[in-house]
């Protein structure tokens, strides 16, 4: 089983102080999903990618990419990964270090297992609870029971209720079928949902004429949901700007950091297209 990498967790899963982009190709977690007496070895992967065009920060001097590191303000130097430990502030500037295995000890029965305790009708869950989504992918030997859970959840329109422990947090989750894959939706705790009663709904009910007018206006605008319909305008404009800039002197080259093989002359338009396709991962 892979060693846990707390500082590489994707942003949505970590407390603000750790935030660092997930490295491509890394599993977020691997372990077992179980329901009743069935146990399936799985790994957890991202279902969401930042759709915004992402930029890299470069060194003005040589256009070398910058990397984010942790600096010890007392020694004024960068601290290697193995010297970093997670800590909790008990009073101003006093910290208690907490190790990974101590974190695992908080919930040892759940830190490697997503145990589905019960199932619910998938449509019954109030959308206000949904937070982020991931996919589960079967590990070797888990394909058949995985396939069964995907199929049966789909046919019965049910979702599994479970908990997932990742680093310093436990997430209530729903395990859903997309028809091909198991999706894991992290949920908010009920005490994180602001009660509606903090806000006063309008005192006087609307008059029957108003009711009728609104109802008719709504009725005339009914359609089907199509998530592709509302494109990200900003993204489109940025891509147009990048295409224009490619012809100018904005194109720069970073120094070679590692030995790279010989390169054929570059087809810039093709390269831009490929990069944008990769950034967008459009369905």
């Amino acid at each position: 089983m892979a060693e846990r990498r707390p500082v590489r967790l994707p942003a949505k899963l970590t407390s603000r102080s750790y935030r660092q982009p997930a490295e491509a190709g890394h599993d977020i977690w691997n372990g077992t999903i179980s329901f009743s007496l069935v146990a399936i070895p799985v790994r957890l992967v991202d279902a969401i990618t930042p759709g915004r065009v992402s930029f890299r920060m470069l060194h003005r001097k040589d256009y070398s990419p910058l990397v984010s590191r942790m600096l010890c303000p007392r020694e004024g130097k960068v601290v290697p990964r193995e010297e970093i430990v997670r800590g909790y502030e008990i009073k101003p500037d006093r910290y208690i270090p907490i190790t990974d295995s101590e974190l695992d000890s908080v919930s040892p029965e759940r830190s490697r297992t997503i145990e589905v305790t019960n199932f619910v009708d998938a449509g019954e869950v109030d959308p206000i609870y949904y937070d982020s989504q991931y996919y589960l992918v079967p590990l070797k030997g888990g394909e058949k029971p995985y396939r069964l859970l995907v199929e049966v959840l789909q046919r019965t329109a049910k979702a599994g209720v479970a908990s997932l422990v990742l680093a310093d947090r436990e997430y209530p989750v729903l395990v859903r079928s997309t028809g091909r894959l198991l999706a894991v939706n992290t949920l908010h705790y009920p005490n994180e949902i602001v009660p509606e009663s903090e806000f006063s709904p309008k005192a006087d009910p609307d008059k029957p004429a108003e009711m009728k007018r609104v109802k008719q206006a709504v009725g005339r605008m009914i359609s089907k949901f199509n998530p592709e319909k509302y494109a990200d305008q900003r993204r489109r404009r940025i891509i147009a700007l990048l295409k224009k800039k490619m012809k100018g002197k904005s194109l720069v080259q970073a120094p070679e950091i590692e030995e790279a093989g010989g390169e054929a002359p570059l087809d810039l338009v093709a390269a831009l297209k490929a990069r944008i396709a990769k950034t967008g991962k459009r369905a």
Binding site: L66, T156, Y189
Partner: protein, 257 residues
């Protein structure tokens, strides 16, 4: 957050309807926050951008923004160029269409807000009723904090709610790894469905008590008082052998039946 403090206000607009509303976050997170420390002296670390080439620390004024075209080749982009693309400020949540709420897959749901009725919010109650009676959600767009959003206008109780929706391009659908096709027998599917139906109940969010945070706080407290922490190893579960799947499902069904 202070009660009654809205983060944005404006009007829901469609056809000849305009309803003034105030936006409030519907989720409030309060969790144990950790910091990263230097192991030997427990000094809190700070994030620092470092040059990948020469390892030098690079101050903000020496940082430029680039789009990586391919390995090592970047297009430089001036932040002022990007600023031009900031959407114009507006006070309108424009509803473009109404769709059956259940057609919106949860993967698109990002942040949730309550819309409190603004002053003289005529039509507010009528809109709540019109949406909840027919299970509809309004697909809408608006601008807030220099960003444009696509959202779903819905109801849950007496208040209107607004969910921001992720763009289709943010949802990974292509990254499905190749999987060997495992044949399932009709019997396995039948027993599997029976088992899941037997284990089905109502959705009760109250079952999720955050005991983990409570236990985490206790652990921190014990450590702060200098007590030793007994490290418990994570439990590992033996995977179900593919050849025994039916047998295991049947045994499970017998237990819950």
């Amino acid at each position: 957050m202070k009660l009654g403090h809205a983060i944005w206000d404006g009007n829901i607009v469609f056809a000849s309807v305009a309803v003034p509303v105030k936006l409030h976050p519907a989720v409030r997170e309060g969790r144990v926050q950790f910091h990263l420390l230097h192991r030997h002296d427990l000094v809190k670390l700070q994030r620092q951008m470092v040059c990948a080439y020469d390892g030098a620390m690079v101050p903000v004024e020496d940082q430029v923004r680039g789009f990586e075209l391919e390995d090592g080749k970047y297009i430089l982009v001036d932040p002022a160029d990007l600023k031009r693309f900031d959407p114009e400020a507006s006070r309108t949540i424009e509803v473009h269409e109404f769709v059956p709420a259940r057609q919106i897959d949860p993967v698109y749901l990002e942040y949730s807000y309550y819309l409190e009725p603004g002053p003289h919010a005529e039509g507010y109650g009528a809109l709540v009723t019109a949406l909840s009676d027919r299970g509809l959600a309004g697909v809408c767009t608006w601008t807030m904090r220099k960003r444009s959003y696509v959202g779903a206008l819905g109801t849950g109780g007496k208040l209107l709610r607004l969910y921001t929706l992720r763009h289709a391009g943010e949802v990974i659908t292509a990254a499905v790894p190749k999987m060997p096709v495992a044949a399932l027998s009709a019997r396995e599917l039948k027993v599997g469905a029976d088992l899941i139906n037997q284990m089905t109940g109502r959705f009760r969010p109250r079952q999720f008590e955050d005991k983990h945070q409570e236990q985490l706080r206790k652990l921190i407290d014990r450590k702060a008082r200098g007590r030793t922490i007994r490290v418990r190893r994570p439990r590992h579960v033996a995977p179900t052998a593919p050849g025994r799947l039916l047998e295991v499902l049947e045994a499970g069904l017998k237990r819950v039946a």
